[in-house]
């Protein structure tokens, strides 16, 4: 009994474990349903999960700043930068080099705009990022009119689609990103200060943190990751489409939350976000393979998000009270 209690305590302390357990369970279900038991069955999900994990990491930084902050401009950044990549790189590697600054600029300028609205104008993050996203949508629509090319620069294509020993490169990138983010959070001054700001911005300021800079940097990161992801997505899909980013809006929040990062900030787990992303994509895939009707698939997705939080939730909130 005591062992069970302490196991539960360990689970609660390492919040990413819930989604990891979920992944194992789903893998089992998948194996039983398809009579195949291999790492390979996960590999199909890997690429989609990797793309989601990259933006979810950005969302995680935004959420970590606390106060209910959230970045709703991510889908618009993804779509716009996908268009920009296609148009500016024109299918050549040289063009890609020219396009890269523009792509980064889209993400950084968006992040800066978000930060300005939130910090200087004191507009709640959910509204500020929503509004900025709307403005980017218009930019995307205008860009869409001149969109004619479907040529992808080979280097970007190799990154987005290639494999190394059977593992998609994009998954390696996402894992590497999770590792770097983890180091940033745990082992750098910035990361520690960010977690302080998320827990109590006033106390952080009094302790000497530059709250505005820390928060702004988090939103810049979120924007940058989204724009880079958009560029890679365009190479993966071989084109840019309106609505390309739409699924990532709620799924990024879902991955962050299911992965164990509290929605009110103060703590963040990039590893959990990665496993949360895999978990969410795996749910959809498993259901499709199991042949569940569409309506049931939606219900299960929603139910899972709530269930994971209900199981892990109360432990968190007592500590953040």
């Amino acid at each position: 009994m005591a062992a069970a209690m302490s196991a539960l305590a360990w689970l609660r302390a390492n919040r990413w474990s819930f989604s990891a357990i979920g992944i194992l369970l789903l893998w089992l279900v998948l194996a039983i349903t398809t009579a195949r038991f291999s790492l390979q069955s996960l590999s199909g999900v890997a690429a989609s999960a990797a793309f989601l994990a990259v933006v979810a990491t950005g969302q995680m930084f935004a959420v970590a700043t606390g106060g209910g902050n959230i970045d709703l401009s991510i889908p618009s950044v993804i779509t716009l930068s996908a268009y920009a990549t296609m148009i500016l790189s024109r299918g050549t590697d040289a063009g890609l080099i020219l396009a890269l600054p523009a792509i980064a600029a889209i993400g950084i300028v968006t992040g800066a705009a978000n930060a300005f609205l939130i910090l200087k104008l004191r507009i709640p993050a959910i509204i500020a990022t929503l509004a900025v996203g709307y403005v980017l949508d218009t930019a995307t629509l205008l860009t869409n009119r001149r969109f004619t090319t479907f040529a992808v620069s080979p280097a970007l294509h190799a990154l987005a689609v290639g494999r190394v020993f059977g593992v998609p490169i994009i998954l390696l990138l996402a894992t590497g990103l999770a590792a770097c983010a983890s180091l940033l959070i745990r082992r750098t001054g910035y990361g520690r200060t960010l977690m302080a700001v998320g827990q109590n911005a006033v106390a952080a300021r009094l302790a000497g943190a530059r709250v505005a800079r820390v928060t702004a940097a988090a939103f810049l990161l979120s924007g940058l990751l989204a724009s880079l992801d958009g560029a890679l997505l365009s190479a993966h899909a071989g084109g840019a489409f309106l609505e390309m980013g739409r699924p990532y809006l709620l799924q990024s929040v879902g991955a962050v939350v299911v992965g164990g990062t509290p929605i009110f900030g103060g703590s963040a787990t990039p590893l959990g976000t990665l496993s949360g992303a895999v978990f969410l994509i795996l749910i959809v895939t498993t259901m499709q393979i199991a042949g569940l009707p569409g309506g049931i698939q939606d219900m299960v997705q929603g139910g899972v998000i709530i269930a994971v939080l209900a199981a892990a939730g109360s432990g968190l909130s007592r500590r953040t009270a």
Partner: protein
């Protein structure tokens, strides 16, 4: 109604029965918080009509005792009898305490800022207004009566939101509210005059005396010993959790009170005086103070300990903050600072501690936050670096890895001190750090402060205990935000400081009655913004296309907006409770599907499913409270569920509207098309709900949930009600969609969710909660709907719709910010 009558009316509860025993008896009440014993074996009795002053140093246990009496905390041992009846702790709660006649006015005000004065009265005492529909008037009258009875000529408008009142007025409202309870037997006041000026303090004293004569027992806690001496008939002195003196007021003079409170501190006083004989030579000048903080410029140098004295509310913490900001590089009027400063706050929970971390992380954050951003952290090195500092604050090594919240208040404060000392700051700012800390720990603090000064740091120290200023080289006496006097060396004795502080106050200009806030156009403008924006939009559209300005045109334009208006109203109630609902649009879609598939074929079953769906929505609220999951995530998950159910029922758009529903949509009422009527109806219903008692309770939960729970309201019930209302509006939106389109489409509702949040914000409700503005939100929803039409008439490509929506959102919020700043 003139004042004397009011006072007479209020001060006449039934006289107590002649042979009544004590109204309150405590026997051996004990309470510990972890390792700290807050109350130890407290026993005393209070008779009806006694005025008892409860005094003691910070951390003596007074607040804990009051919390126990008020039903907020449960004692570990002992008995309490109220009016002869023993208290059953298993069932004791704030509500029960109030039923027994115990009312407490807390030091931290428990008012709901976005509710009016009258509504705050209601929330505390719902039954006082009877069942009348005109409950607002009743409570306004109640509020006015009681305020006048205690504080004649206060000029507080009972219809004013409490958040717009000055802090003194808020304190008056709290006191009046507590004393308005007809069952009142024991009135407990915790630092009642801390925010009141001389005139109001005297009013309160007169009121207390009057109530006491009428049989109400009054316990008041105060640091103002002269006040206690003047007012109380009996004095209880607490020290370190025990009751050390229980004497008639006539038997204790102020110095004796101090001695009883200080106890060992008196002994430390001697050591302090001895130790501070060691002279320190001041170092370089680190800060210069000028107007508005000091009429004559002051220089503060390293190696000095500067005390900030003066009565509470004289501006000392504000000065510390300004100094901190100036040290951090921000320009502040009146302060010039050439060094870095570290801040130690006495409000550990609110401003000091990082609750998720352990002791080590809490200590090192000061150095880390002021260090380089990409500095590499090494846990082992961190520990080695922090160890000596933690040792120097006498924190046992085995506690250094423990979660910070498991430490006692005193130890937490030590960690905060270590944090400040660990940085290289040349200035240490202390914001009443010894508040609530026991004497032994205080000793260690004094030692630390002396050591810091000895090492050449400038220590600026705000304390609420005058005795601590004996440590200081110089004491700056604050009054009304600026330094009035400087006392140095031997002149800075406790008596001198106290009497100087009181002298300042007595000599202050006679305070005038706080005026009513200007209610001209300036006050109303923010509320009118959504309506003005809507009118402008509509005027533009009408100018561009005369057809639009006809009823026919209005019908067309409004028709597209009807579902959004309803969804936005639902969202408004959720945002009023300080949450966000990401599933409200999907729920409207589900209602659309249900009413177009099940309802036409089998009306009874259809109604049942709609009712069940609504019930499910309300249960979401319960789930959020029960498992403490944030609303934004639960509603996100729920949105998938609603969409899934709808899709399972109807994979492809279709269905049909029941005849009666379709007829409603195409009908007219008095010549006004149904679309416009339904929008007006939505606004009317929302306004009615908001104006009802229900609305006040929901807004109260959004503004100050803790106060509401302590007031006896159930958070779970409130959440269920909130989501039931939101769900009902979303359901109506779905029905409207069925009526207008005579069919259903599960995907059609999704786009309304984010737009509804935008509408609510445009309409004037802060996302922080506590506000519900039906007219504003409806105007906001209409405005967002009309943008598309406006752009169409301007022949602007619809591509720009989104940007205009975004711009409108930002523009309105900026406008509101600007108005708020101007008002300050």
């Amino acid at each position: 109604m003139n004042a004397p009558d009011a006072r007479a009316a209020v001060a006449a509860p039934p006289p107590p029965p002649a042979a009544a025993g004590p109204v309150l008896v405590l026997s051996a009440i004990t309470k510990s918080y972890g390792p700290t014993i807050a109350n130890q074996a407290l026993s005393f009795a209070i008779a009806p009509g006694e005025v008892v002053g409860l005094i003691g140093a910070n951390g003596a246990g007074k607040s804990t005792l009051m919390r126990i009496l008020a039903g907020v905390a449960l004692p570990d041992g002992g008995r309490i009898e109220v009016a002869g009846a023993e208290v059953d702790f298993a069932r004791f709660s704030p509500q029960r305490a109030r039923e027994s006649g115990i009312r407490i006015v807390h030091q931290e005000l428990s008012l709901c800022g976005s509710l009016t004065v009258a509504e705050n009265f209601y929330v505390e005492q719902p039954t006082a207004g009877g069942r009348s529909v005109l409950w607002h008037r009743r409570f306004e009258a109640l509020a006015r009566t009681h305020l006048e009875a205690i504080f004649p000529g206060n000029g507080i408008d009972p219809r004013a939101p409490v958040g717009t009142l000055a802090i003194a007025q808020r304190q008056m409202v709290e006191i009046a509210r507590a004393s308005a309870d007809p069952r009142l037997r024991i009135l407990i006041l915790d630092e009642p005059t801390s925010a009141l000026d001389v005139r109001r303090s005297e009013d309160l004293q007169r009121f207390i005396a009057a109530r006491a004569k009428a049989g109400v027992a009054v316990i008041f806690i105060s640091h103002k010993l002269h006040e206690v001496a003047a007012l109380a008939g009996r004095i209880l002195v607490m020290r370190n959790g025990r009751l050390v003196r229980d004497a008639a007021a006539t038997a204790l003079a102020v110095p004796q009170m101090v001695e009883a409170m200080a106890g060992e501190a008196a002994a430390t006083l001697a050591t302090v005086q001895a130790a501070s004989g060691v002279a320190r030579t001041p170092g370089a000048v680190l800060a210069e103070i000028s107007p508005p903080f000091a009429a004559t410029p002051l220089r503060l140098a390293g190696g000095e300990i500067i005390g900030l004295a003066g009565l509470e509310g004289s501006g000392q913490p504000e000065f510390l903050r300004a100094l901190h900001a100036a040290a951090g590089g921000q320009a502040r009027a009146g302060v010039r600072c050439r060094a870095r400063a570290a801040y130690v706050s006495g409000d550990r929970r609110g401003e000091g501690v990082f609750p998720l971390w352990n002791v080590l992380a809490n200590a090192t954050i000061g150095r880390i936050a002021t260090g380089r951003a990409l500095a590499w952290l090494n846990p082992a090195a961190e520990y080695t670096a922090a160890r000596p500092w933690l040792d120097s604050v006498q924190l046992p090594p085995e506690r250094q890895g423990a979660p910070i919240l498991s430490l006692s208040g005193g130890n937490q404060q030590k960690v905060l001190m270590a944090r400040a000392l660990m940085t290289d700051a040349e200035i240490i700012l202390l914001d009443d750090p010894t508040r609530g800390v026991d004497v032994a720990v205080k000793q260690e603090f004094y030692r630390l402060i002396r050591a810091a000064a000895g090492a050449g740091k400038l220590v600026v120290w705000y304390s609420s205990e005058t005795i601590e200023f004996l440590e200081c080289d110089r004491v700056l006496l604050f009054h009304e935000g600026e330094v009035r006097r400087t006392l140095e060396g031997a002149a800075a004795s406790e008596d001198a400081i106290l009497s100087a502080a009181f002298a300042e106050r007595v000599g202050a200009r006679a305070a005038h009655a706080p005026g009513r806030r200007g209610r001209g156009l300036g006050g109303h403008l923010p509320k009118l913004v959504p309506a003005i924006v809507l009118a402008l939009l509509f005027a533009l559209i009408a100018a561009l296309n005369r057809n639009a300005a006809s009823l026919f045109g209005l019908d067309l334009l409004a028709g597209a907006a009807v579902p959004l208006v309803f969804v936005a109203c639902g969202q408004m109630f959720v945002v009023g409770g300080s949450e966000i609902d990401l599933g409200v649009g999907a729920f409207a879609g589900l209602a659309n599907v249900l009413s177009a598939t099940v309802l036409p074929a089998r009306p009874a079953l259809g109604l049942l499913t709609l009712a069940l769906a609504l019930g499910g929505y309300a249960l979401l609220g319960l789930l959020m409270q029960a498992r403490a999951i944030p609303a934004i995530v639960v509603t996100l998950g729920a949105s998938f569920i609603w969409a899934g159910i709808g899709y399972a029922l109807q994979p492809t758009p279709g269905g049909s509207a029941p005849a009666w529903l379709a007829a409603l949509a195409s009908g007219h009422v008095l010549g006004v098309p149904a679309s416009i009527v339904s929008i007006l109806a939505a606004a009317a219903v929302a306004a009615l709900l908001n104006g009802a008692r229900l609305g006040a309770v929901l807004r109260g939960f959004g503004a100050n949930p803790r106060a509401m729970v302590q007031g006896g309201w159930s958070a779970r019930y409130g959440a269920m009600l909130r989501y039931a209302i939101a769900g009902a509006f979303a359901l109506t939106a779905g029905l409207a969609m069925t009526a207008i389109n005579t069919a259903s489409d599960i995907n059609a509702g999704g786009s309304y969710t984010l737009l509804s949040i935008a509408s609510v914000v445009v309409g004037g409700c802060a996302l922080a909660g506590g506000e519900i503005a039906p007219l504003g939100v409806v105007c906001g929803a209409l405005s967002l709907s009309l943008i598309g039409s406006l752009l169409g008439f301007l022949d602007v490509s619809t591509d720009y719709n989104a940007a205009v929506q975004g711009g409108l959102l930002i523009g309105i919020l900026m406008l509101r910010q600007a108005l708020a700043w101007r008002r300050r």
